[in-house]
């Protein structure tokens, strides 16, 4: 009987440890600077990109806010992938030099602060709360938001700040 009990205890501990490590991985992934879940939807009007970005948060509203932040960060540092059916080509990152974010850390902290300048370059292109949402665990919602990113305006701002190189720089 004792043996059976100890075996059950061991199994429970193993499950808990596994769940904890899964949570840890998830937490690391949420906070990763490289973790963007983005899909290019279609060609936006002049100078904009229409993308679907997935954000995470304790409430759906927080997840939408996170998605907006991630959408702008993705345009800046990673670029958008090509559309699934090939109808939209790849969009390159505005900031190509990987050392630039660290060099301008103060600027980006301010840029991405709550209610910061980044909101000027992103628009949710649907009214109300997005229906594409999943509760991934007790504390976290994952929400997919269709966003219109003002890519050209964002690029011009980065060129003005000297963070991105303009096509004609040096000539």
């Amino acid at each position: 009987m004792k043996k059976i009990l100890s075996l059950i205890m061991l199994a429970v501990i193993a499950v808990c440890v596994n769940a904890q490590s899964k949570n840890k991985v998830r937490k690391i992934e949420y906070n990763s600077a490289y973790n963007y879940e983005v899909v290019s939807l279609s060609v936006g009007v002049d100078g904009t990109k229409l993308v679907k970005v997935y954000g995470y948060g304790r409430k759906p509203e927080d997840a939408v806010r996170n998605a907006k932040e991630l959408g702008v960060a993705c345009a800046l540092f990673r670029g958008f992938p090509a559309g699934a059916d090939g109808s939209v080509a790849t969009t390159p990152a505005i900031v190509k030099d990987p050392s630039e974010p660290a060099k301008h850390q103060d600027y980006f902290n301010k840029f991405f602060a709550t209610g910061g300048q980044y909101l000027q370059y992103v628009n949710a292109s649907s009214d109300g709360m997005p229906t594409d949402r999943v509760k991934v665990n007790k504390k976290t919602y994952k929400v997919g938001v269709t966003l219109s990113i003002a890519y050209d305006e964002l690029r011009k701002e980065m060129e003005r700040q000297g963070i991105a190189r303009a096509l004609n720089s040096g000539f």
């Binding site: 060609v43 559309g83 109808s87 080509a89 050209d152 190189r165 004609n168």
Partner: protein, 321 residues
């Protein structure tokens, strides 16, 4: 104090003006396939071989699709402070210049001196050609656009940037809307690749082509030897040594050579050089002129002539000035 500030500002402005590299010109040209398919081509008999060439003037005059695409691309490039040369306007300018050159005469009746080479050079040209091919295809009731854009360096012939793909089929959108969508979809990717090319150019030098030829009146070949500190060296090797010393990181490739010519490709020339303490932009003409000066010095004392084919290609013809 104000004077000092003004002087400092003007000095800074001068420095920034002189610190700019030569900007390549870019022009969109419809692909040969596009022109031929639309019936805008010229066919002639070239010594028994039927040859078909694109008729750009006819294409630009008759095809509204290509005008729409070029106009859209020009707008995007202007927005990036890199305006494109307009093919239609360049063709018009070339014929206008030709007519004016024939008509201008001085007070004593002299006309403008023009060699057959000058006439040949008076064509629409650019340093980077954007070779554009668009097709509106049909799949059942739906239409979609295939878009192919290649940036070709006019001198090295290398494809330096490209973007291509087929758009999403639509049964309701008009072809011009699909064309516009194709341009908007591909331009950022294309410009990103063009930017990579420019970044590489600033890091490793501009890639150009240099040809060294001989006038038939020259009393030497590339095997002729000259006495130097390191003993007798052939002319071909002297030129190769100079290239190794003056190219960025010594990068060049002697792709072909004989007793009468040397063909240097993938020659990386510096973007800037110092003159009177100021940075000046380097082009192939300046680079090859420096080689000409080197060969004119003792112990070589060789006469030569520089022939410029554009920003990225120049020839040095040995034997005469």
């Amino acid at each position: 104090m104000k004077k000092i500030i003004l002087l400092t500002m003007s000095a800074l402005m001068c420095a920034s003006t002189f610190g700019q590299a030569k900007k390549p010109t870019i022009m969109v040209v419809p692909s040969d396939r596009y022109c031929v398919e639309r019936g805008c081509s010229i066919t002639y008999n070239d010594n028994g071989t039927e040859t078909t060439l694109p008729d750009y003037k006819k294409t630009m005059q008759n095809d509204s699709d290509i005008r729409l695409v070029i106009s859209k691309m020009s707008g995007i490039m202007s927005d990036r402070n890199f305006p494109l040369k307009d093919l239609e306007q360049e063709l018009r300018n070339a014929s206008q210049e030709s007519a004016e050159t024939k008509l201008i005469s001085g007070a004593d009746g002299g006309s403008i001196a023009e060699s057959p080479i000058d006439v040949l050079k008076r064509t629409a040209k650019a340093d980077i050609i954007l070779d554009l091919d668009v097709t509106v295809n049909k799949r059942g009731p739906k239409k979609y656009v295939t878009f192919i854009l290649n940036a070709i360096d006019a001198y090295t012939g290398k494809n330096i940037a490209s973007s291509s793909g087929a758009g999403r089929p639509s049964s309701s959108a008009a072809p011009d809307l699909l064309l516009e969508e194709a341009v908007l979809s591909h331009m950022d990717e294309f410009i990103g690749r063009l930017q990579n090319h420019f970044d590489d150019m600033f890091a490793n030098g501009r890639e150009v082509k240099v040809m060294i030829k001989m006038f038939n009146s020259a009393d030497m070949t590339f095997s002729e030897t000259f006495p130097t500190e390191d003993g007798d060296i052939e002319l071909g090797d002297i030129i190769e040594d100079w290239m190794a010393d003056n190219c960025v990181s010594g990068r060049f490739s002697l792709s072909d050579a004989s007793d009468n010519f040397q063909k240097y490709e993938q020659v990386r020339i510096p973007m800037m050089y110092k003159r009177n303490g100021r940075d000046r932009a380097m082009d192939t003409k300046t680079f090859v002129t420096n080689l000409k000066k080197h060969l004119a010095e003792a112990p070589y004392l060789i006469d030569s002539k520089v022939y410029v084919r554009g920003l990225g290609e120049a020839w040095l013809i040995i034997g005469e000035n």
